[in-house]
């Protein structure tokens, strides 16, 4: 081992306690970064999965003009289901498609009422497209029947169970109040809290007739085959429908859910913030260590200068010590981070412990799973090392510049 490295290692060993503190701070930072990043990525992934699997699908087809009004959930303009659904399913790259009729409503229970979203579905088509049907406690409503499934959270809030009757009020296409007496056939308990809290599912034809829009859908949700580019598929579906003589606009889930996309982007920023905090901790820790070390070793530094070491070489020695600490911390951080992340990936973490029932904007509930993201390791490692080097540099340079004659005076 070269003498300088031996010297650096022994100096670190000499101040074991301080070294361990510094090393621990950096290692902890790296572990934290790996885990926070993993959970945030997991949260993002679950959010997207939950959104796509339970609400929006990959693509949304609307009648022209609907998209800009979509926040209000209007019944018009709507799409003719029979003419469109088979055309859509015929497009190469479309794995599944299902029509939905979505309308705002109020659910009445006693003297209370709650705003809900009515979703008219064709259970057969819907179960191949979205995953609501996999999460029904009870059974799906039957076509043409005055039956509904409702979100489990909503049901629990209103103390409604399977077999109960509820009244829903909404508006027909012409703006007249419509009241629907429906029997609850099932509760929908999905991993998507928006669905559980807000959605009431009725058969498409029951809802369509009640709202004076029989045979129509406000949206056709489309699932893409594996590996399809959504933009490309959206373009193809749009062209196919245009060629078939149907006016319809096709959107990707990212276009339809700008809010979630923005939230995810914000999260990337907060990810950066976490990195910055970790770097700051490391920076202060290492700078402090180097400063103390340099103070203690004033005479030693003077001796080294007398022996002919250049100032730059002395700085280099301190950097070597800092980087060695950093390497140790990175190694440990990786090992512990990887082990902890393996747990998060396999077992996950119950985020309700943090947020409770609070709606934090993510369509996620319960357990969030970590993900493996090698770039985070690379980033965390590089950040740790660079921080160590940066933090050591200034105190080291100050120490190296000291007047050797003065420090050597007995």
């Amino acid at each position: 081992m070269p003498l300088l490295i031996r010297l650096a290692v022994r100096n670190l060993w000499r101040n074991r306690r301080r070294t361990i503190l510094t090393f621990g701070a950096v290692a902890l930072g790296i572990v934290y970064l790996i885990l926070v990043d993993s959970l945030l990525r997991g949260l993002t992934q679950s959010s997207i999965d939950n959104l796509l699997d339970f609400e929006s699908g990959d693509l949304q087809i609307h009648a022209p003009g609907y998209f800009d009004e979509r926040e209000d959930l209007p019944l018009e303009p709507a799409l003719p289901v029979d003419r469109l659904i088979n055309e859509v399913r015929a497009v190469a790259g479309v794995r599944a498609a299902a029509p939905r009729l979505v309308a705002p409503a109020r659910l009445h229970a006693g003297w209370e009422e709650f705003p809900v979203v009515l979703v008219g579905i064709e259970p057969e088509l819907d179960s191949g497209t979205l995953r609501i049907m996999d999460y029904v406690e009870g059974r799906a409503p039957e076509n043409g029947a005055a039956e509904a499934m409702i979100g489990a959270s909503l049901a629990e809030l209103l103390e409604i169970g399977t077999g109960d009757w509820v009244v829903l009020t909404t508006r027909t296409r012409d703006g007249a109040i419509q009241a629907l007496d429906v029997r609850v056939t099932g509760l929908v308990r999905t991993p998507n809290p928006n669905v559980n809290r807000n959605h009431v599912y009725l058969p498409l034809n029951t809802l369509g007739e009640s709202l004076a829009v029989p045979g129509e859908a406000t949206v056709i949700v489309v699932r893409a085959g594996a590996g399809e580019s959504l933009k490309e598929l959206a373009r193809r579906v749009g062209e196919h429908l245009a060629a078939a003589g149907t006016a319809a606009d096709v959107y990707t889930w990212e276009q339809s859910n700008a809010e979630l996309v923005a939230l995810i982007r914000t999260e990337t920023v907060s990810d950066g913030l976490v990195i910055a905090i970790i770097l700051a901790i490391s920076l202060v820790g290492i700078a402090n260590t180097t400063l103390l070390s340099a103070l203690e070793r004033r005479r030693e530094i003077g001796t080294m200068k007398a022996l002919g070491m250049r100032e730059g070489e002395i700085v280099g020695l301190f950097l070597l010590e800092a980087v060695a600490t950093g390497l140790l911390a990175v190694g440990t951080g990786f090992a512990v981070g990887a082990a902890a992340n393996a747990y998060l990936v396999a077992v996950g973490m119950d985020i309700s412990a943090f947020f409770g029932d609070l709606d934090v904007g993510y369509p996620v509930t319960g357990v969030v799973y970590g993900v493996w993201h090698p770039q985070t390791f690379v980033l965390a490692g590089a950040a740790g090392l660079v921080t160590c080097a940066l933090a050591a540099y200034l105190p080291a340079r100050r120490a190296a510049r000291q007047d050797a004659a003065a420090t050597l005076r007995p």
Binding site: P2, E300, M309, E311
Partner: protein
């Protein structure tokens, strides 16, 4: 040309608003191979003089030349290079690097030299040199495991290992008892005689003067006496095992 030439060298330290003159117009020449003691009371400027010769400090006025090069024209890195290649230091408080063994301390000086490709001494020669200064078998001890005298021997080996043009020793015996001090002096004189290395000491130890061939006396920053003499015969030869 003398190895060391000082012409009208003054050095003034500034302590707050106070200017403290340490040297006031010193002219001095030291030839290669000399074994010279700088003596004088505390505060007479001995250490300052050594620091100027040793490129650890620059004069406020006057010229310092080492082997013909004028030091005040050089930047910090060039001064460091001269210290590395030409100058060995021996300190009153030994100043070994505590985390390195005796052998590593000597190798350290050598390693610095090698990085410039200027080193000519190999690893096993370090062991030999340590044996020559009387530390055979103690090579792997750390400074904390050595006596003061032993530490100073390591320092001597460290100074000599790079075959410097001059060794500067600031009060080398001040922290040693008389027996150890004498042994160190004998060792240095033996090295002076055997290798022709130039030695300059600062001291107010009369024993050091006994061993010196030239005694330069400083007082209030001025050279007040410069006496060349045959040293007293050493009672014992340097102990070299």
């Amino acid at each position: 040309m003398a190895l060391v030439e000082l012409e009208g060298v003054s050095k003034t330290y500034r302590q707050g608003k106070l200017e403290v003159p340490a040297l006031r117009g010193v002219d001095l020449e030291i030839e290669a191979g000399e074994f010279t003691a700088i003596v004088g009371p505390s505060g007479s400027g001995k250490t300052t003089l050594l620091n100027l010769i040793g490129c650890l400090d620059v004069p406020t006025a006057g010229i310092v030349r080492l082997a013909g090069r004028e030091l005040s024209r050089l930047d910090r890195n060039a001064l460091a290079d001269i210290r590395r290649e030409k100058i060995g230091f021996i300190f009153q408080s030994f100043n070994l690097i505590p985390v390195l063994t005796a052998k590593e301390n000597v190798e350290f000086a050598l390693a610095l030299l090698r990085r410039n490709g200027a080193g000519q001494v190999h690893g096993e020669q370090v062991t030999e040199l340590l044996a020559e200064v009387g530390l055979a078998g103690l090579e792997n001890r750390r400074p904390g495991e050595l006596s003061g005298g032993q530490q100073q021997r390591v320092a001597i080996a460290r100074a000599l290992v790079k075959a410097p043009a001059i060794v500067l020793a600031d009060e080398p015996t001040a922290n040693l008892d008389s027996e150890n001090g004498r042994a160190i002096l004998e060792l240095m004189r033996a090295m002076n005689e055997r290798r022709g290395t130039t030695f300059v000491f600062s001291t107010h130890d009369p024993m050091v003067m006994e061993y010196s061939r030239r005694i330069v006396t400083l007082q209030d920053g001025r050279v007040v006496a410069d006496e060349r003499r045959e040293p007293d015969a050493a009672p014992h030869p340097a102990r070299c095992s």
